[in-house]
């Protein structure tokens, strides 16, 4: 079975919060703020991407608990990769 890419994992996490709009939302963030194609998303981009996502989601909701929870879930993807590398 093909291993899921980092982009897929970010979309999977986002799906919990944005449902069917998750894929489109993340693709837009990567293209507009990182100026990359979604499939080119790398581990080094993740921190910057999470910052942009945090700003974007803050515009969608004032519920700081949800924003915090979502950002933490995304940061776990960074930690997972880092721990795998070390």
């Amino acid at each position: 079975m093909a291993q899921s890419t980092l982009y897929d994992q970010v979309v999977e996490t986002t799906h919990i919060y944005l449902g069917p709009a998750a894929d489109r939302f993340i693709a837009r963030q990567v293209q507009n703020h990182l100026h990359k194609k979604p499939e080119q998303l790398s581990q080094g981009d993740l921190e910057k991407l999470v910052d942009w996502i945090q700003i974007a989601v803050s515009l969608l909701t004032e519920d700081s608990d949800i924003i915090e929870e979502y950002v933490q879930e995304l940061r776990k993807l960074t930690n997972t990769k880092e721990s795998k590398n070390t």
Binding site: R24, A56, L60
Partner: protein, 305 residues
């Protein structure tokens, strides 16, 4: 040579309907029985029509066209996606629900005005307005229910059994009471609702209305299930208002049709309890479209940021 055609925007259409409404109220011959009943002069009749019928109608239509326009914009954004077809159908349904309000009111005013001058035309005018209302309601609710079903099918979601049973029970109760009311009316002296024989009325008015209402209620049931079970906390929050908005609109429209059926002679001045009930229903339809507009704006934001 093909002439260039330009479709009216939603708000231009609203303005056109608004102007037509004001013109009709100011020019149509007043209803003679109503003038005599309330002891009114013609200018007083027209002023009351403007205040009690035209103004609330204009406010409700404004909310309806706003809600529809926001949903249309959202549908435009997601038209190429998996949810695109569902929202296309839903938007078409909401457009017909929004159009139902001005089209039926304007038709009733126009044909009612002719009937005021030529009383022999009353039956034809009533039948035409009622069949037009039924046709629009059927198209609107079929489209809305088709969109809602596609939504649920795409996400492999089904409405809960309990809610389905409650809906069937509510529908049977509403239907039986409506039939009882119509049949009882038809046996009172001079009380022939819709100006047609009972058999014709049951088969060509009551049955199609039941069908339209059932479609509307099925749409609400499916959208409610989708808005509860679809993944995405923030997406669900935005969608929940859409489902509530549609629920309120369809529920209120059904009640309004119920009320209009009870008081079939539309397009004339009505005061008292009927007017009050109409205001409540107009307000809730406007509120429902407001919820849809707000929800669609939130959904647009998710797709734009």
């Amino acid at each position: 040579m093909k002439l260039p055609t330009k479709r009216l925007s939603t708000y231009q259409l609203y303005a056109l309907f608004a102007v037509l409404l004001v013109i009709l109220v100011l020019v149509i011959p007043p209803h003679p029985a109503t003038i005599a009943r309330y002891n009114l002069t013609t200018p007083a009749y027209r002023t009351l029509m403007l205040a009690t019928t035209a103004l609330p109608s204009l406010l409700t239509w404004a909310a309806a066209f706003y809600g529809y326009e926001q949903l249309r914009k959202y549908q435009n954004i997601v038209r190429e996606t998996k949810e695109g077809e569902a929202f296309r159908q839903l938007t078409t349904g909401s457009r017909w629900v929004a159009l139902y309000l001005p089209v039926v009111t304007l038709l009733a005013l126009f044909l009612g005005g002719i009937a005021n001058a030529h009383p022999g035309f009353r039956g034809v005018s009533m039948a035409f307005v009622n069949y037009a209302a039924i046709a629009i309601a059927i198209v609107a609710y079929i489209k809305a229910s088709a969109g809602a079903r596609i939504m649920c099918d795409n996400a492999c979601i089904r409405p809960s059994l309990l809610k389905t049973r409650v809906l069937i029970l509510a529908f049977i109760a509403v239907g039986v009471f409506y039939c009882y009311f119509i049949i009882r009316q038809s046996f009172t002296p001079g009380g022939t609702p819709y100006y047609m024989p009972l058999g014709l009325m049951l088969s060509t008015v009551v049955v199609p209305y039941f069908f339209a209402w059932m479609m509307g209620l099925l749409a609400v049931l499916d959208i409610d299930a989708y808005a509860i079970k679809v993944p995405g906390v923030l997406y669900r929050r935005a969608l929940r208002q859409l489902s509530w908005g549609l629920l309120v609109i369809i529920g209120s429209s059904v009640l309004l049709q119920y009320l209009n059926s009870a008081n079939t002679e539309r397009g004339r001045l009505v005061l008292g309890a009927v007017l009050l009930m109409r205001y409540v229903l107009y307000a809730s339809i406007a509120g429902g479209f407001g919820l849809i507009g707000h929800s669609a704006k939130k959904l647009q934001q998710i797709e734009k940021i």
